[in-house]
C-alpha cells in the first residue's frame, strides 16, 4: 500500500476559503439556507465551513444539521460490511429552505442518492445543492454532480481518497492511497 499527498494543509485551507466564498456568492446572508453535513465524514467539513463563514466572513447565523443516511442506503444486506448508524441532528424543518449537502469525497454518488431520500423526511426544500471537497471523476454510478467542488481527481478503483481533519486525525491533509494489486 502506498500513499501520496493529494492536498497539503495549505491547499486544503485555500480551498476551504474558496468554497466559503462560493457559498456566500449564492446564499448571501444564509437566512434561507441550511448546510447539512452527511454523516459521518461530511460533518467535519460542514463544521469547518460554518466556522469560516462566521469568523472570517462575518455571517451571523448559519443553520447546520447532520444527516445520517444509513437507513436509506441501497446496499443494506448487499454489502459485506454491517451498516452502523450515526447520529442525525436536525432540529429544524427544511420546508422551503435552500439545502446544501456537504460531504468530503464524492465517489459513486450513492450516498448522495440516499441523502436525497432521507431529507424528504424533514420537508420539501426549495432547492438542494451539493458541495464536496474531493470529486472523483469517472467513477459515478448515478447522474449526480457537485455544485461546489474543492478539487477534481482522477482515481481508479483500487485507489482510495482519505481526508484527514485537524480535529479528528490531527492535521488537515488529503491522501491518495493505492492498494497493492493482488495477482488474481
Amino acid at each position: 500500500m502506498s500513499q501520496n499527498v493529494l492536498l497539503t494543509t495549505k491547499e486544503v485551507h485555500i480551498i476551504l476559503h474558496r468554497l466559503a466564498c462560493q457559498l456566500i456568492e449564492n446564499h448571501l446572508d444564509f437566512s434561507k439556507t441550511v448546510l447539512i453535513g452527511l454523516q459521518p465524514r461530511g460533518s467535519f467539513l460542514a463544521n469547518r465551513l460554518v466556522r469560516l463563514l462566521q469568523e472570517e466572513y462575518q455571517i451571523k447565523k448559519v443553520n447546520i444539521g447532520y444527516l445520517d443516511i444509513t437507513f436509506y442506503r441501497d446496499d443494506f444486506r448487499r454489502s459485506e460490511k454491517i451498516l452502523e448508524a450515526n447520529t442525525t441532528e436536525m432540529d429544524f424543518l427544511v420546508e422551503d429552505q435552500k439545502v446544501v449537502f456537504i460531504d468530503d469525497v464524492l465517489y459513486t454518488g450513492r450516498s448522495v442518492r440516499a441523502a436525497l431520500t432521507a431529507i424528504q423526511a424533514y420537508g420539501r426544500p426549495s432547492s438542494i445543492e451539493l458541495l464536496c471537497l474531493i470529486d472523483r471523476r469517472f467513477s459515478r454510478h448515478l447522474p449526480i454532480q457537485p455544485n461546489y467542488r474543492g478539487r477534481q481527481v482522477d482515481a481508479i478503483n483500487n485507489e482510495k481518497v482519505k481526508v484527514h481533519w485537524q480535529e479528528q486525525e490531527g492535521e488537515d491533509i488529503v491522501y491518495l492511497i493505492t492498494k497493492n494489486q493482488t495477482s488474481a
Binding site: F71, R73, F76, R77, K81, I82, T87, T88, T117, A121
Partner: protein, 309 residues
C-alpha cells in the same frame, strides 16, 4: 463493525452485554427517526415479516407491526383464533406454510414456553420471540432496561425491584436476565405464593415487604396480576393483594427518595398501582411504550442485516 452474536432473538439469556448495548445504540437512532415529521425509513424494503400471535396481545402486536412498517418491511398478520391451528395443524406445518410464501422473519407469541426455540431449530427464518408462556419476553425487557437507561443515565449499579406475580411472569424473567447482564442489582417482591421456588439461583434477592423493597430501590417495575394464568387462588382476594403489594401516592410520598415507577401494561388501575401513581411524573409507563417501537425497530433491523440474500 458490530453485529449481534445471535441470528434469532429467543430470549435475553442468549444475548451478550455487547448485544444489548448495540441494540440500545441502534434504538437511539430509531427513536430520533420516529420523532421526525415523516417517521419512516426504507431499510427493510425487501424483507417480509410474519407476525404470528397464538395468544392474545394488543400492545406488543401493535408495537411490532408499527416497528416493521416504520422500517418499510412487508407485514402479514396471523392470529391463532382465526386459523387452521383450530383444525389441528402443527406449529411447524403452520409456520412452514407461511414461509413458503417467502417470508424472511417471524415474530411469534405462543402460550408454550420454548416455542420460539423449537421453531428456530425446524424452520429457515429469523425468529423473534414476542413472549412464550411464562418463559421470556425479550423485547419487553430490552425496552424496560432502555427506559431505565434513558431516565437514569445508565442501568449498571441501579437498584431495581420487580413487584408482583413473579411466578407467571415472562416479563420478570427476561427483566432479571437483562438487568443482571447490564450490572444492576435486582430484588423481587410479592406474595410468597407467587414466588418461584428457586428464584434466588438467578442472583436476585426476595423481599416480602413492599415498603422495604421500595425504600431500597431506584426503580420499581410493577407487574400485572395475571388472573388468566391462575388456575388456583394464590392470595385471598384482590383487595388484600392491593393492600399488601399495591403502590399508592401516599406510600410513594412516605419514601426517602423519589423512585421511578414502571409497568409493562396493561394496568389494572387500583390493583398494582393507583391512578394517581400511574399518571404521575414518577411513572414512565408511556415512555416505555414509545421506546418499545424504537427497540423493536432496532432488533428487527439488526437481525435483518444478518439474513443472507
Amino acid at each position: 463493525m458490530k453485529q449481534l452474536s445471535v441470528d434469532h432473538l429467543l430470549g435475553i439469556k442468549y444475548l451478550t452485554e455487547e448485544d444489548i448495548h448495540l441494540i440500545f445504540e441502534t434504538a437511539d437512532q430509531f427513536k430520533e427517526v420516529i420523532n421526525r415529521p415523516i417517521k419512516k425509513v426504507p431499510s427493510l424494503r425487501d424483507i417480509t415479516i410474519a407476525n404470528l400471535f397464538f395468544e392474545n396481545s394488543t400492545r406488543t402486536k401493535l408495537s411490532f407491526e408499527l416497528a416493521e412498517k416504520r422500517l418499510s418491511a412487508d407485514v402479514i398478520n396471523f392470529s391463532a383464533s382465526q386459523s387452521s391451528v383450530k383444525k389441528g395443524e402443527t406449529l411447524v406445518d403452520t409456520v412452514n406454510n407461511i414461509l413458503s410464501m417467502k417470508v424472511d422473519m417471524v415474530v411469534m407469541r405462543h402460550p408454550n414456553p420454548g416455542a420460539g426455540i423449537f421453531l428456530s431449530k425446524h424452520v429457515n427464518a429469523s425468529i423473534i420471540n414476542a413472549g412464550d408462556g411464562a418463559h421470556e419476553h425479550p423485547t419487553q425487557a430490552l425496552l424496560d432496561t432502555y427506559s431505565i437507561r434513558e431516565r437514569l443515565g445508565e442501568v449498571a449499579g441501579k437498584k431495581v425491584v420487580i413487584v408482583g406475580d413473579i411466578l407467571h411472569s415472562r416479563v420478570a424473567l427476561s427483566n432479571i436476565f437483562a438487568l443482571k447482564r447490564l450490572g444492576a442489582e435486582v430484588k423481587v417482591c410479592g406474595p410468597k405464593t407467587l414466588m418461584p421456588k428457586y428464584i434466588e439461583s438467578l442472583g436476585v434477592e426476595v423481599e416480602l415487604s413492599l415498603h422495604k423493597a421500595l425504600e431500597w430501590c431506584d426503580v420499581a417495575n410493577m407487574l400485572r396480576v395475571q388472573n388468566e394464568r391462575m388456575d388456583i387462588s394464590y392470595f385471598p382476594s384482590t383487595r388484600e393483594y392491593t393492600k399488601q403489594y399495591g403502590v399508592n401516592k401516599q406510600l410513594l410520598n412516605s419514601l426517602q427518595n423519589e423512585i421511578v415507577i414502571m409497568h409493562p401494561g396493561p394496568i389494572n388501575r387500583g390493583v398494582e398501582i393507583t391512578s394517581d401513581v400511574a399518571d404521575s411524573k414518577q411513572a414512565i409507563i408511556l415512555d416505555q411504550v414509545e421506546n418499545g417501537v424504537a427497540i423493536r425497530m432496532a432488533v428487527i433491523y439488526l437481525l435483518a442485516s444478518k439474513i443472507k440474500q
